[in-house]
């Protein structure tokens, strides 16, 4: 096991800059998830760690050793690909023992380690089969087995669950987490799915356009997003944003949106904001039903009951708000209801830069 340090790394394909001066620390034994929309450079960064892409500038170290010019096979890493990349003409056992065979290990040792890994992953009865004879989830497990069997210093996962159906994805997510808890191998995991990132990671790196937007623990990103991009990317359904300005009413700081919606703001945030144009962010799950006359009156545009909760799309003034309510709603589209933010749940951002204001 080893830590991975990425320092000021850049990469361009032709004139297009894919990665710009990215620095990320992956502590020994940590599970770090690189997340971002497609084209943000997360996969390229992972491939640079693996040695499948050259590093234009900057340094990547694994276990303190700079690996810029080290061949992939000598980096002591294992990678799991989105399409599994199993060798179709080799049996499951041969697929899993491939790297050991190349490393010149004895047949007995290979068999023993493959059998042990297969046992951990519940693949023992499939060892003689071929990849085409397995289901998607089983193939995914074989791909993980191929990585585990080498006992590498670092695991690299490139969207490993994207090809699975929703139910299997949830199951494999739990298995991955369990596996990491057991092996404690340093892991770098790439995904575009923020739920995967939130549930798996010790630490999330949010990327956009080749730049790291924010690094932090999952709940830290959820509670204190550094900018509107991270705020909108983390959490589902996405955060509501209202543009407007701050003012004082009856001695208290209030946010007033361009559409006329008013939400209370803490005095500290208001003081830090000064009088710049601000964007107020509130997560749908932080909007609650208020007693009549106390919250913001909103007209229901659409209701989406999911069983455990109700998603409400509401219009207030010129603004659109999405609220996730735990209560069962008897109202219908066209009715009005009263919404108010949970105390202290609002986020303030500078409209021009998108940066977070205040603590």
């Amino acid at each position: 096991m080893a830590a991975v340090e990425i320092q000021n790394v850049s990469k361009a394909f032709g004139k297009t800059e894919i990665i710009r001066q990215v620095s990320v620390d992956v502590p020994d034994g940590a599970f770090v998830v690189l997340v971002g929309p497609s084209g943000c450079g997360k996969s390229t960064l992972l491939r640079m760690i693996a040695g499948l892409e050259d590093i234009d500038s900057g340094v990547i170290r694994i276990g303190g050793r700079a690996i810029n010019d080290v061949e992939p096979k000598n980096r002591d890493i294992a990678m799991v690909f989105q399409n599994y990349a199993l060798y179709p003409h080799l049996s499951i056992a041969e697929n899993m023992g491939f790297s050991l065979r190349l490393a010149g290990r004895s047949k007995a040792e290979i068999m023993e380690r493959v059998a042990e890994t297969a046992r951990i992953l519940g693949l023992s009865q499939y060892l003689a089969r071929y990849p085409r004879q397995l289901s998607g989830g089983q193939r995914q497990r074989v791909a993980m087995g191929r990585a585990i069997v080498r006992n590498p210093q670092v695991f690299l996962f490139d969207e490993p669950l994207s090809n699975l159906d929703a139910k299997l994805r949830v199951q494999m997510r739990a298995e991955l987490k369990e596996l990491h808890a057991r092996l404690k191998t340093t892991t770098v995991y790439v995904t575009h799915d923020q739920i995967e990132a939130m549930t798996l990671a010790d630490r999330i790196v949010v990327m956009r356009d080749g730049v790291v937007e924010q690094v932090g623990a999952p709940l830290e990103l959820y509670d204190r997003p550094a900018n509107t991009f991270v705020a909108s990317f983390i959490g589902s359904p996405a955060m509501n944003f209202l543009e407007g300005s701050l003012s004082r009413e009856n001695g208290a700081a209030v946010f007033v949106s361009a559409g006329g919606t008013r939400f209370p703001v803490t005095a500290g945030d208001a003081a830090k904001a000064g009088d710049v144009a601000v964007t107020y962010g509130i997560r749908p799950e932080h909007l609650v039903l208020a007693p009549d006359g106390e919250g913001t009156e909103a007209e229901i545009a659409a209701l989406e009951p999911t069983g455990s909760e109700t998603h409400v799309v509401a219009r207030t003034g010129g603004d659109r708000l999405m609220a996730v309510l735990r209560e069962r709603i008897t109202a219908r589209a066209g009715d009005t209801l009263s919404l108010s933010p949970s105390p202290g749940a609002g986020h303030l951002f500078e409209t021009a830069s998108g940066r977070r204001i205040g603590a």
Binding site: A50, L52, F81, R150
Partner: protein, 297 residues
């Protein structure tokens, strides 16, 4: 209308009748296609059948009318005459050596070049690929004579090496393998092998080649028959009877021995044996390799 017909959601008698007549029409069309295909395949098989049966006929029966498919008095005289009077086996041997060596060379060059052109994206390589494709446009007859002088200068006339000169590389083969690699071998497979510690040669031998089996089989059949049926080049390279390939030998048969239909048929029938054997043996590969370029897992 009966009660059953009137139920909502069920088909009326008229609809059922319409469906039945449509089905009947479709079945009739299918049958017509079957008949047509049978007739066409019989027409295509007939010359071949006559060729083989003529080989077993006496000269009298050959000219008899109506012609017989199964000879009344089958005879091996034509075969034994052909084998006695001409070096037929030698020609078949020449052709076999030529076709096998040519196939091996084409398979090797196509596999290596096709893989490299598909998986190593350098600009210079794509230019090279264009050049390779462009060579397919130039007919062999254009450079046949210059190539002949080269063979002569190298002292390769009347040798297998001389025959092989124009048959070592096949631009279509390179193209076929390149397309197959692009469609059926994802980059990740090669990258996974690199991370696993495999060298480039190892990847080529143990990963790429096994996955190209179908395409290489198809190309092998193509290359074999290209050499087996080659005529113009062997005709000018081989000037001595013992250096002939079977194609050249058969052609000279007709002039050299007048037109003895019985013997020509017998010789041709003998020549068919290796081709048919090979095709039957590799048929599955051939169809697969040509029909499906994308073998998605």
């Amino acid at each position: 209308m009966s009660i059953a017909d009137a139920r909502p959601g069920e088909m009326t008698a008229a609809e059922i009748a319409l469906g039945r007549s449509r089905r009947r029409r479709r079945r009739a069309a299918d049958r017509l296609i079957d008949v047509l295909l049978t007739v066409v395949s019989c027409l295509m098989l007939l010359p071949l059948l006559f060729l083989v049966s003529n080989g077993f006929k006496t000269p009298q029966e050959m000219l008899a009318w109506p012609p017989t498919i199964i000879p009344n008095e089958p005879t091996f005289a034509n075969f034994s005459a052909v084998l006695r009077d001409t070096p037929l086996l030698r020609w078949i041997g020449n052709s076999l050596v030529f076709a096998v060596l040519s196939s091996i060379s084409i398979l090797a060059t196509s596999a290596i070049a096709g893989y490299i052109l598909a998986k190593f994206p350098f600009r210079s390589l794509s230019v090279l690929f264009m050049v390779i494709l462009a060579t397919a446009i130039v007919p062999f007859e254009v450079y046949m004579i210059p190539l002949y002088f080269q063979a002569q200068a190298l002292g390769l006339l009347n040798t297998t090496w001389g025959l092989l000169l124009g048959y070592l590389v096949m631009s279509f083969g390179i193209f076929l393998i390149r397309q197959n690699v692009i469609h059926s071998i994802p980059d990740e497979l090669i990258e996974a092998a690199r991370i696993d510690g495999a060298g480039e040669l190892w990847i080529f031998w143990r990963i790429v080649l096994p996955l190209l089996r179908g395409a290489l089989g198809a190309l092998g059949v193509l290359a074999f028959f290209q050499a087996w049926t080659a005529f113009a080049w062997p005709l000018i390279v081989a000037s001595r009877s013992e250096a002939y390939t079977i194609e050249v030998g058969l052609a000279l048969f007709q002039t050299g021995f007048t037109v003895d239909l019985g013997r020509v048929s017998a010789a041709s029938a003998l020549v068919l044996i290796p081709s048919i054997t090979l095709f039957v043996w590799l048929r599955r590969n051939f169809v697969q390799g040509v029909a499906s370029t994308g073998l998605k897992e």
